[in-house]
């Protein structure tokens, strides 16, 4: 299991949830993987790339083979693909490891230039997931039925989280929609010698400056936006994928 990599160019995307009724990112993901590979980036899928808990078999059969094929072609061109395990795809860990090509990691410490960044899915800092994992799983599974009724229910949930975040007294400087724990966790990591931290999991994108001058970035879910994080020669940036032009 690797946790430490050195790279000049890394593109990080998270929460594709391929196989989820709400996830309609097959074409965008294939185009993105192709673009990443042709631009000379390595790729990191920062958790929840594949869906288990809210699985739709028809979506899996429609979407997953094309994406895996695109990833395989990228790897044949020399692109390194790192897969950081999330909470929705943790049961796929052995499969992803054995499928070949992916470099699986619980998290990544990325060295680029003189900078050091942590890339991690972030579910370990979700207070609901940590305090009540079974209830969390059950609620996620129940949510899957709502998504089968109409996938757009998910957008309502995202709007609710953003509203709650704006109303929450302790929001302070965090990413809107996120629990303050994620910013606190990023600050803890910065204190251990990281210049920046990249999480996924929350599906809320944004960037926040950390107490020591570093940055916490979350690209949000690739289902909801085309944002990704890129590390280029030590620089950490939030970027947006615009189809064939990147």
């Amino acid at each position: 299991m690797i946790t430490r990599i050195a790279t000049d160019r890394l593109a990080i995307v998270s929460d594709l949830h391929l196989g989820n009724p709400f996830s309609d990112v097959r074409a965008k993901t294939v185009a993105f993987v192709d673009w990443v590979s042709r631009e000379g980036f390595d790729l990191c899928i920062n958790g929840d790339g594949f869906e288990v808990t809210q699985l739709s078999f028809s979506r899996v059969s429609r979407d997953v083979p094309d994406v895996l094929r695109a990833l395989k072609m990228a790897m044949q061109r020399g692109t390194k693909v790192y897969y950081v395990v999330g909470n929705h795809d943790i049961v796929f860990e052995h499969f992803l490891n054995d499928w070949g090509g992916f470099k699986l990691a619980p998290f990544l410490n990325v060295e680029s230039g003189s900078r050091r960044y942590r890339v991690e899915h972030g579910h370990l800092y979700d207070p609901f997931f940590v305090s009540s994992p079974r209830l969390y799983d059950f609620c996620t599974w129940m949510g899957g039925f709502l998504l089968k009724v109409h996938p757009r229910f998910y957008r309502l949930w995202i709007r609710f989280e953003r509203l709650r975040s704006r109303l929450r007294a302790e929001r302070e400087r965090g990413i809107i929609g996120e629990h303050p724990n994620f910013l606190a966790a990023a600050s803890e990591l910065e204190a251990r010698g990281f210049d920046g931290v990249v999480f996924g999991h929350t599906h809320h994108g944004g960037r926040v400056e950390l107490p020591g001058g570093g940055w916490y970035l979350n690209p949000g879910s690739f289902m909801l936006s085309s944002n990704f994080v890129k590390i280029v020669e030590g620089r950490l940036e939030l970027s947006s994928f615009g189809g064939k032009h990147g």
């Binding site: 946790t3 998290f107 050091r116 803890e188 990591l189 204190a191 251990r192 010698g193």
Partner: protein
């Protein structure tokens, strides 16, 4: 900063701790470098140079034993000091800290084993003894 944690700044060459000290904090290198040295029959021996993100002094925290080597700052150095009381709190708030600590310890054991096996397979008992003494 959470309880049991604080940043400490050191100048170039400043001593962080000496062999035999009974202090029990551990450190994480936030910036700069830490040189670990040991006296070996009167000769100073550099055991390691620790950089950003690496751990210093964890053996004394975990085992409550005196320091086994000297530690000095190389260049301006900023360390995150973790005291025994804050250690478990740190693990709770930052679980990958424990993972990386275990990785570091595993790496050290494996490296020492490889060095020991190499020395013994060459019949170099004095080298093997030096490796074991540096562990003590």
């Amino acid at each position: 900063m959470a309880q049991g944690l604080e940043f400490i700044h050191y100048q170039d060459g400043e001593c962080i701790f000496q062999e035999g000290d009974t202090t029990q904090e551990m450190y994480v290198v936030q910036s700069g470098e830490v040189v670990i040295r040991k006296e070996n029959r009167g000769e100073p021996l550099t055991l390691a140079v620790l950089r950003r993100g690496e751990f210093v002094g964890e053996m004394s925290l975990l085992e409550s034993l005196p320091r086994s080597a000297h530690a000095y700052a190389r260049g301006p150095t900023k360390l995150l000091r973790i005291q025994a009381g804050g250690f478990l709190l740190k693990i709770r708030r930052d679980p990958t800290f424990a993972f990386e600590l275990l990785q570091a310890l595993s790496r050290r054991i494996r490296t020492k084993n490889e060095q020991l096996i190499a020395a013994l397979s060459q019949g170099n008992l004095s080298e093997a003894k030096k490796i074991l003494e540096n562990e003590a």
